[in-house]
């Protein structure tokens, strides 16, 4: 038995890095410390895709890695509008090869941000993002606001490690001297802990943000007695707490990005932060979901100029979520082949888009079988990043941390698989060019 410390969790955007595990016979047998129940479940493992496979006459037939990679390359090289989607639950090293492949075949490359915090990115492109690292919150924040976010269910260690419950330099008494405000439609487990819970009418976030802004700027007289199901009195109380805080932080989740007004809700949340900043220190941060969704946004940005929904069909990057984002391409039936890596649109995309995905050739790269496997035409199993493979990832506050390899595996890592496909695609294209001459 070997004990491994400082293990980095590859589940959610918290990327906890103080986990201790026990490894025996090349298997994680115990998670001793640090991980939440969701992270623990990830580290302990689940049933795997056992072999590369290619679909023939409706069912998957096992094959070698070489055969699957070759088949994948043939599909992609022949496509006129291929989509390369996923990238958030793997390491940056694999993402980089993905961007290179997208350029090589004139593909659209998109990542899970487009159905998660893509709207937050659009909002940042409109107004910017006054933010900080999670350690700043831990050391300084005396007012924590979770808006449309339920960390108790989605980021179980978040409050303990970084925000409301954590202890830091100016917050050594933990939650005792902090205030927690929760804004949500439902009284969630997080809401039950709050000093102030604002139960908002579904879909009215935008109006409430604008009301808060008007109040923060001193125009409370124009604000009506009730906005979005919240009384003016409660809004004024919240504004008072914001102004009196020494360091405030708003964490927002998909309660805001998934609802009507989408990215403009976030624009307004950021504008509210800016308004609060005229009184005191105020920051805002998206609660990123996957452990490396921030990372693929980073890689895609430094390599193409844009974080997601990038169309390279003309050889240069055209960026336009809402047009070349995965859901739109699929609902509009625009793409003719898709590579899905480290994500599961079969489970997480609207049915309308899955319908088209099920009709076109799909290559899936993933350690685990999932709904997407049900219609994938080429299935390539991958090593689990953070357990069987190492590499760089970016936490929700864009801090880069290197995942550790805990056990050996015979599965290929995402990066190797992607390099294999890129190599095969280049071979096909090279041959085509010789034939043209």
């Amino acid at each position: 038995m070997v004990e491994i410390t400082d293990v980095v969790c590859s589940l959610c955007g918290c990327v906890c890095d103080d986990i201790v595990v026990e490894v025996e016979d090349n298997k994680v047998i115990k998670v001793k410390k640090g991980a939440c129940s969701v992270g623990k479940s990830k580290l302990m493992g689940h049933g795997r895709i056992e072999s590369p496979a290619i679909r023939e006459n409706g069912s998957l037939k096992d094959c070698s890695y070489d055969e699957a990679i070759k088949k994948a390359a043939e599909i992609l090289a022949a496509a006129r509008r291929p989509l390369l989607y996923g990238w958030s639950s793997t390491v940056c090293e694999a993402d980089k090869v993905g961007v290179e492949l997208a350029e090589e075949i004139g593909a659209v490359i998109d990542n899970t941000a487009s159905v998660c915090h893509g709207p937050s990115v659009l909002a940042i492109q409109d107004v910017g993002l006054p933010s900080c690292t999670l350690g700043e919150v831990k050391n300084r924040a005396d007012l924590v606001i979770y808006w449309g976010a339920n960390p108790a269910a989605a980021h179980a260690n978040h409050m303990k490690r970084y925000s409301y419950i954590s202890k830091g330099y100016w917050t050594e008494e933990g939650k005792k001297n902090k205030k927690l405000v929760v804004v949500d439609v439902r009284k969630t487990a997080t809401a039950k802990m709050a000093d102030v819970f604002l139960q908002i009418e579904q879909g009215k976030d935008y109006l409430v943000f604008s009301a808060l802004r008007a109040m923060l700027y001193g125009y409370e007289d124009v604000v009506p007695e009730e906005v979005g199901g919240i009384s003016k009195k409660d809004l004024l109380e919240t504004v008072k707490m914001m102004k009196e805080a020494k360091f405030g932080i708003i964490f927002f989740g998909m309660g805001v990005t998934h609802t009507g007004a989408r990215h403009n809700n976030i624009v307004n949340a950021i504008q509210t932060t800016r308004a609060a900043h005229t009184h005191t220190k105020f920051n805002i941060m998206p609660m990123r979901g996957h452990y490396n969704v921030a990372g693929i946004n980073q890689v895609c940005t430094w390599e193409t100029g844009y974080p997601f929904a990038v169309d390279l069909s003309r050889g240069y990057a055209w960026y336009n979520p809402g047009e070349v984002s995965a859901t739109d391409l699929l609902v509009r039936r625009e793409c003719d082949a898709a590579l899905i890596i480290a994500s599961d649109p079969g489970a997480h995309f609207p049915g309308e888009s899955i319908r088209h995905l099920a009709k076109i050739p799909v290559i899936q790269i993933d350690p685990f079988p999932n709904p997407t496997t049900e219609f994938a035409d080429v299935v390539i199993p991958a090593a689990i990043s953070g357990v069987e493979a190492e590499g760089n990832v970016y936490r929700m506050d864009n801090i880069p941390i290197r995942l550790r390899k805990l056990v050996d595996t015979e599965y290929m890592a995402d990066e190797e698989i992607m390099k294999g496909i890129l190599g095969e695609v280049r071979a096909i294209k090279g041959k085509e060019e010789i034939e043209r001459r």
Partner: protein, 564 residues
């Protein structure tokens, strides 16, 4: 580096480090290095053309968290510089915040082969290195921010310079960094509470002053054989009347003896620190006062931070400064404070020749270059992208070389340039030798890179060469600008990477980093305190903090022994 021989024949060579001033000379390269002679070389005919060593940029923001945040929040900048991929080049985007590939290609086209990333937040150092690896052609290094760190301030307060040096050594090693970067010392920590610090204000809760931080880091730096001095972005950047803070900052390290023949402080983007007046209303140039100081003293070198008119993306670890700027413009604003260490702010900005303040700023950068007598104290920069994108360097070169061009430009600008700036009254024009100094000789020497093959063409130097398609007699500013934008040839490590303004090869560059070698006992003593910081205040563990070797696949290590 490529194997084989190359002969650059009959060029007119400007190699200031070796005192070569416009001599017709052959350059011989074998296996990537300059040699005495070659036997069976590939030949490049440079007859009558200007030949210089590869350019060395001492200060630019090209890689890392805030650069990428700048790209991310400016898709409108991204679409300005789009170019489709080619057989050699990856797809390009961006003007003021180009993608990593465009950054490499565009610098190489201007004849540059080394660029220093000027600000690396230690906690996010892996990010900087990931991007550096994706910048083709160029060799790079990055300077970690060490001045607002709680560890630094603790030791400044206790006055324990040896332990401070031990921490400085550790963090440069942990980040695979190049030297000590200082940005608004104390002010960035204060900004975590939405405050700022002037040079002699006490930093909230830490009870030290920015002046003490700068002086202490200046001393700590010289305890090692560091190739570069401390690299300082002082307090009150961009504030009217800040020139006195600037010279007071220079004074802080006057008594410190450098380990070798170089200044003890490099003061960066000095344009932003040379302001007179009390408000934007009576704002005026004080470049003369700064130049006067630099002329009279030997312990300070500067770079310009010269303004390029047009739209750009400002970004700095100086969070409060970016906030002020955003309040002026009302445009988008990103801020990212980094726990226990530093911060950053980003906002787009348009420099307009119709606005009095911008016009004066535009003049100040050039005044500094022209009023400081010794070009070995001056580096050409735009603090890319803060005062303008690096792609504007050829414009500045043409301005420095042509009084006529400066006068023509001034005539189209706000008339404040005649009342509150000195530029129109300055007659000096740079020659090509001086241009070579401020773009490669001085920068390589100030960074200590001349001892590692950069910035010159002496035997043993790297085979990094720029061949510009102009004759030494050329005086036409337009033709000068054009030639410096796109070389006839750029050669990197003996390989032709640019030909006739097109990138023809894009090899990977190297990452330069310094390893200060500290007394192990001091390191151990420092470590207790450091580990405590990680245990209680950082959000990552001590073990997961240092940059792993995997992030530096093409390393070039420079050792900096302890000076006992």
């Amino acid at each position: 580096m490529v194997e084989g021989e190359l002969l650059i024949r009959n060029g007119v060579v400007y190699d200031p480090i070796n005192g070569v001033n416009g001599e017709k000379k052959d350059i011989c390269i074998r296996d990537g290095k300059v040699v005495e002679e070659v036997r069976n070389p590939k030949v490049i005919d440079a007859e009558g053309r200007v030949v210089m060593p590869g350019g060395v940029d001492i200060h630019a923001h090209i890689a890392g968290g805030k650069v990428n945040a700048g790209r991310l929040f400016r898709p409108e900048d991204g679409r300005k510089g789009r170019e489709a991929k080619t057989k050699v080049c990856r797809a390009q985007s961006g003007y003021s915040v180009p993608n990593t590939f465009a950054t490499g290609y565009r610098y190489a086209k201007m004849g540059y082969t080394f660029v220093m990333e000027a600000a690396m937040p230690p906690l996010a150092a892996r990010h900087t290195h990931e991007e550096i690896v994706d910048i083709p052609i160029l060799d790079n290094a990055a300077m970690p921010l060490i001045d607002n760190n709680w560890m630094t301030m603790d030791y400044v307060k206790s006055g324990d310079m040896d332990l401070l040096a031990a921490y400085v050594a550790w963090i440069i090693k942990a980040t695979k960094g190049y030297g000590v970067k200082i940005v608004n010392p104390g002010g960035t920590e204060a900004w975590a509470w939405a405050k700022n610090c002037d040079l002699n204000d006490a930093v909230p809760y830490f009870d030290v002053t920015p002046a003490e931080i700068i002086k202490s880091l200046g001393e700590a730096n010289e305890k090692f054989e560091m190739p570069h001095s401390i690299h300082v972005h002082g307090n009150m950047l961009g504030h009217p009347g800040n020139y006195e803070v600037t010279t007071s900052t220079y004074d802080l390290v006057k008594g410190i003896k450098p380990y070798r023949d170089r200044p003890t402080m490099h003061a960066t983007h000095t344009q932003f620190h040379s302001y007179g007046g009390t408000t934007w209303g009576d704002f005026e140039s004080k470049a003369g006062a700064i130049a006067d100081y630099v002329n009279k003293n030997e312990h300070v070198s500067i770079d310009l931070g010269s303004v390029i008119l047009g739209d750009t993306t400002t970004m700095t670890a100086d969070g409060p400064m970016e906030y002020s700027l955003y309040q002026i413009t009302g445009r988008k604003w990103t801020n990212h404070d980094v726990e226990l260490e530093t911060g950053s702010g980003i906002t787009p900005f348009l420099y307009s020749g119709k606005v009095s303040v911008h016009t004066i700023q535009w003049a100040i950068g050039q005044e500094l270059a022209l009023l400081i007598k010794d070009p070995w104290k001056v580096a050409l920069t735009t603090d890319h992208p803060n005062a303008g994108p690096f792609i504007g360097y050829p414009i500045i070169i043409s301005m420095l070389m042509s009084k006529r061009r400066r006068d023509e430009s001034a005539a189209d600008m706000h008339k404040a340039i005649y009342d509150r700036a000195a530029l129109p009254s300055i007659d000096r024009e740079y020659d090509l030798y001086e241009i070579a100094i401020v773009t490669r000789g001085m920068t390589a020497k100030t960074l200590g890179l001349h001892e590692h093959g950069k910035g010159h063409l002496g035997v043993g130097a790297d085979g990094d060469v720029a061949i510009y398609d102009i004759s030494p007699e050329e005086r036409d500013a337009g033709r000068i600008q054009k030639a410096f934008l796109n070389t006839k040839y750029t050669i990197k490590g003996g390989e032709v990477v640019v030909k006739d303004g097109e990138v023809v090869a894009a090899p990977a560059g190297k990452t330069y980093f310094v390893t200060p070698e500290c007394d192990p006992k001091l390191t151990d003593e420092m470590m207790d305190k450091l580990k405590d910081k990680f245990e209680h205040y950082y959000s990552v563990t001590f073990a997961n903090y240092p940059v792993q070797d995997a992030y530096v696949p093409n390393p070039y290590e420079i050792k900096a022994p302890w000076r006992s």
